[in-house]
Subunit: 279 residues, 2 copies
């Protein structure tokens, strides 16, 4: 089963279940166990983007194997389809900071993580002297200096393409940091916030927030426009790159190929990414 | 001094200061006392719209008399103007759910309450089966049935004009319920929410939320389109009108006349409103 969901990350210790912590995976698994009348340990969620503590999602995707009888029993005495009944019942049992928008039987070969073609994140900054409008303070970060969105757009464009993003990633033993940055642009939205749109095949840990921190330092005049590109070229983690706060970040969309290509895509994504000169 | 401000009403017991309660007036007065180094009891705020518990504002306006020396001392050693220094300092002392966007010396004759020409409120409903997107759950109300925004727009238009809105108001001894409803329209916004825009010279207690409740009952098919107009014509409070929840309501804008007309407008507003046949 494929689930499309959103959450306000403020009160979660991120996606991944951890003992004693309130996590999206933990809350969602418990909710599914209730409505599917299935033990929690028989439900194993696979997610497209393992978001960190405080990070939000509007377009998160996960999959989970569901026992057939539990699925068939979902409508109960209603005339709803099982998927619609599941969405409605989850609304009743989940807290208001997680919502499952849609549920559907996943097509053959679908893997929420490995079938994904790319992930899109948004990041929002507010550089008004008065600070962040109160109703947006959970997903917009106050920036203490004025930002030049055009210069930020120029600095971020220089990072596009297939690179080893190690300078912008927290190291994890044995994990590659080679990624393809497909889009990275900045602009002002209708509310006057300075907004990033960041798309990559996948992201390593803290990568989006480090890319934001590096380019924001250009936007407020502390670094020259070419600095983020220089950091990338240096190929080692740069302590001058500040990781931007989590609450400005939203996982907005995960793109998948047509159904017929899902399994092939998953096999390709499971193989380790390498740079052309390493291949 | 005129202050333009916004707040997330979720954790406030409304605008008006009450002993032992967390209110916007109380928090703002305390913040002003700190940055102006003036005792709280010498600062008396007058507000354009006394919002109820849970109601938000993006365009609230208030005024307060400030001792001249306190105003002149605001820049300290900075090169900011007093107004800019005040906004910046208030950002430092106020909690994130209140923000003063702008401060300025008020023109002669300005009264935040009585000089106002009209107030504009917004109200947001979400009728998706999945419920309200988590990041909007503080200012959007989940509606359990599908809504027809076009029919709601028709029902609300029938309420426009100068009327005694007593059927939609909580009674208050000695207070008139005669108001001019200047705009009341419904539509779907870019997020798919069903949004009201409501403008009147002034509103009596719970009036916007009762107007929303009456028209939402038309929108979800429980009442005929002409029902809100019938309620108005009956001229007595109708127990069938459900007052909609506070958290969908936002005070968005308060309009004032040109400076030269402020005092005249205030004098007119202070006089009791009457219907033409009572004049």
């Amino acid at each position: 089963m494929r689930l499309d969901l959103g959450y306000d990350g403020t009160d979660f210790s991120g996606w991944a279940a951890q003992p004693g912590r309130r996590t999206v995976e933990g809350i969602l698994t418990a909710g599914l166990a209730t409505v599917l009348r299935t033990p929690e340990d028989e439900l194993s969620l696979v997610v497209a983007g393992r978001t960190d503590a405080g990070v939000h999602a509007t377009g998160q995707v996960c999959h989970v194997d569901v026992p057939r009888p539990a699925w068939d029993a979902l409508p109960g005495r209603s005339d709803l389809a099982p998927a619609a009944a599941l969405v409605r019942r989850l609304r009743g049992v989940l807290p208001g900071d997680v919502r499952v928008h849609a549920a559907a039987p996943a097509p053959p070969g679908f893997d929420a993580r490995f079938s994904a073609l790319h992930r899109r994140y948004g990041y929002r900054l507010c550089d008004r002297p008065a600070g962040v409008p109160p109703l947006r303070r959970r997903d917009v970060v106050a920036w203490p200096r004025a930002l030049d969105a055009a210069v930020m757009n120029e600095a971020s464009a220089a990072l596009l393409g297939l690179h080893d993003f190690a300078p912008f990633c927290k190291r994890r033993e044995g994990a590659t940091t080679i990624r393809t940055l497909l889009e990275y642009g900045w602009g002002r939205d209708g509310d006057g916030f300075v907004v990033a749109r960041v798309v990559a095949d996948a992201f390593c840990h803290s990568m989006v927030r480090a890319l934001v921190g590096a380019v924001a330092a250009v936007g407020d005049g502390r670094r020259p426009t070419h600095w983020p590109r220089d950091v990338l070229a240096a190929a080692v983690r740069d302590p001058g790159v500040a990781v931007a706060p989590p609450h400005g970040l939203v996982l907005e969309h995960v793109a998948y190929p047509p159904d017929a290509e899902l399994a092939v895509r998953a096999a390709a994504a499971r193989s380790r990414r390498v740079l052309p000169h390493q291949a």
